[in-house]
């Protein structure tokens, strides 16, 4: 694990992350660097125990990231980042062991089109551990540099603005 950690930290130092951090912006940047469209979608179909919470499917011409929607926004961001981390680390699946799952989830997808499938379901393989750690380091750094979001959600827009100004007056970063 220490070796993976060192590798991930080295990779993180080389990464130009958007500031302030914006996942959509990072997706755009990865898409441009790979020279192919990248789409992020919710995992279709009903939730089940066996279903992974995140999947990256690379076809001939496009990358698709599917993420489970039944969790918090931070967790969803993390799952997307995990799949992005596979791309940033240059991971590819040597075989496609999850064709059964693919058929169930995406019945219209032709297996011949699929070049790589990686799913976030366990940390058995080194690829998964590396992607998970890199995703954690990216988002932990993003959280560290981000201003704490206004934690109040059930107030009117006017009150939200007043609270923002009060926070600013009392030393919270703009």
């Amino acid at each position: 694990m220490n070796r993976i950690r060192r590798r991930c930290r080295a990779r993180l130092r080389q990464l130009a992350l958007p500031e302030p951090f914006d996942l959509a912006e990072l997706c755009r940047s990865v898409s441009i660097s790979r020279g192919r469209p990248l789409h992020v979608r919710g995992i279709p179909g009903p939730a089940s125990r066996a279903r992974p919470c995140g999947i990256w499917i690379a076809t001939d011409a496009e990358d698709w990231i599917f993420v489970d929607q039944q969790t918090s926004s931070l967790h969803r961001q993390h799952i997307v980042l995990h799949e992005l981390a596979h791309m940033l680390c240059g991971h590819t699946a040597s075989e496609l062991p999850e064709n059964d799952m693919l058929r169930r989830l995406f019945p219209n997808l032709s297996p011949a089109m699929v070049k790589t499938v990686l799913s976030r379901s366990s940390y058995q393989s080194e690829y998964e551990r590396e992607a998970e750690l890199l995703a954690s380091l990216i988002l932990a750094r993003a959280q560290l540099t981000a201003a704490p979001a206004m934690p109040v959600t059930d107030v009117s827009a006017g009150e939200q603005e007043i609270l923002r100004r009060a926070a600013l007056a009392l030393g919270m970063e703009p």
């Binding site: 919710g42 931070l74 926070a167």
Partner: protein, 414 residues
């Protein structure tokens, strides 16, 4: 004396802690200057400092007058900050200009003239009985008028800021901002108490009354004055503490420890969620990478929850409130704990090798109950830690509710 010195030290510490940051935003600069004035007022209130100033200037009660002038200036700045925070668009009219500059200047000038006309200019105050010279010389009309003008000016500002801080502090809830605003509101109430008590002494003395009330007043007045300074200093510093590296580390460590039992319980039921599992002693002793470890803990807890299928229980929120006993839960906490109980039932079922009744399903968050949606509202690490810490803090309630449900509905207990 020692308590007074501690109060002043705390006030200067918060001023210095915010020193470089205060320059960035005009509104924050105004708050910072207000804090400087409060700390200066507290310093002048220390008998050793105040007496030395009086002796060095040859003017008895100069320290008192200086404190009052600084207080008027601080109140004016506080008023300005309150207006800026409220953000009510006000064209720069002659009235607003008058109120911001001419009114405080005229008030200070009037106070100085009244002081110059009073015997307090040449006669010292018996500081063993009186905390401010107006209390001793209240029988003189110019001193009585001096105190009334001072008290009305300050009292109006205290009421305005207290209302604002209380209202929006409640809206911001238990966040650092909410707590900071509530402390400021409490400080303003202490300030009103100080003014009320001191005005009572001044009025009693002006009316020729004498007695125990006047002799015991200095202790209460000093206590309320100290509370005003400490509460406002801490309240205005609290929201910024999230940016102090040491406080960040301590908070992350504390949260990490609080979430450990929750995480460990989920690891038992859903093995494999931990990327780099550590025993409890290592988790407790390792001071490295706290922020990343806290982040991992939150993600792994969420992974564990995602792997479980929450058990549907009709009237779950009432059951949670019943399990909480006399402790009245806030609606948001109740919703969070209801979701936590549904997941705890699923975790217990998983440990038994059994599976509960699913709620939601349908593959979309729209299929989940309202309380469960509330549980998934965390958009950043802070809000996630807050939600999960609520579960950890009320763990007894969660387990009690789960046990009662399993007892009353044996089917769930397998």
């Amino acid at each position: 004396m020692i308590l007074g010195a501690l109060v002043v030290t705390a006030a200067w510490a918060t001023v210095l802690a915010q020193f470089p940051a205060h320059r960035k935003v005009p509104l924050r600069r105004a708050v910072w200057y207000t804090m400087v004035l409060l700390a200066a007022i507290g310093t002048l209130d220390l008998p050793a400092i105040g007496a030395r100033l009086d002796t060095a200037s040859g003017l008895p009660n100069l320290a008192d007058v200086a404190q009052h002038v600084l207080a008027i200036t601080a109140a004016t700045l506080g008023w300005y900050c309150a207006e800026q925070v409220l953000g009510i668009p006000r064209p720069r009219t002659r009235w607003s200009s008058w109120r911001q500059t001419v009114l405080p200047t005229a008030t200070v000038a009037t106070l100085l003239v009244l002081f110059a006309l009073s015997p307090a200019r040449t006669h010292p105050t018996d500081s063993a009985i009186y905390t401010d010279f107006p209390m001793q010389y209240a029988v003189h009309p110019e001193v009585f008028a001096y105190w009334l003008i001072f008290a009305v000016y300050l009292g109006t500002t205290f009421v305005l800021i207290a209302q604002l801080a209380w209202r929006y502090g409640r809206r911001a809830g238990g966040t650092p901002l909410g707590c900071g605003l509530m402390l400021i509101a409490a400080g303003m109430v202490a300030g009103l108490g100080y003014l009320g008590f001191a005005t009572g002494v001044v009025a009693a003395h002006a009316a020729g009354a004498d007695g125990r009330f006047i002799h015991t007043a200095p202790g209460y007045i000093q206590g309320l004055f100290g509370a005003l300074i400490v509460l406002v200093a801490v309240g205005s510093f609290l929201p910024a503490t999230g940016y102090c590296p040491l406080i960040k580390r301590v908070t992350a460590y504390w949260s990490l420890r609080r979430l450990y039992p929750l995480w460990a319980g989920l690891c038992q039921a859903v093995p494999g969620i931990a990327l780099d599992p550590v025993p409890v002693w290592a988790d407790r002793l390792d001071p490295r990478d706290l922020q990343v470890r806290l982040y991992r803990r939150v993600i792994e807890i969420r992974d564990g929850y995602l792997a479980l299928t929450p058990v549907a229980v009709p009237g779950i929120e009432d059951l949670v409130q019943a399990a909480a006993g006399a402790h009245r839960l806030a609606p948001a906490d109740q919703a969070t704990l209801a979701a936590a109980v549904q997941l705890e039932l699923a975790r217990r079922a998983e440990l038994r090798g059994d599976r509960g009744e699913a709620v939601g399903g349908g593959g979309s968050p729209g299929g989940l109950s309202a309380s469960y949606q509330e549980f998934l509202a965390g958009g950043d690490l802070d809000s996630e830690v807050r939600v999960l810490t609520t579960v950890a803090t009320h763990w007894t309630t969660v387990t009690r509710a789960a046990e009662r449900i399993e007892r009353d509905r044996p089917a769930l207990a397998g």
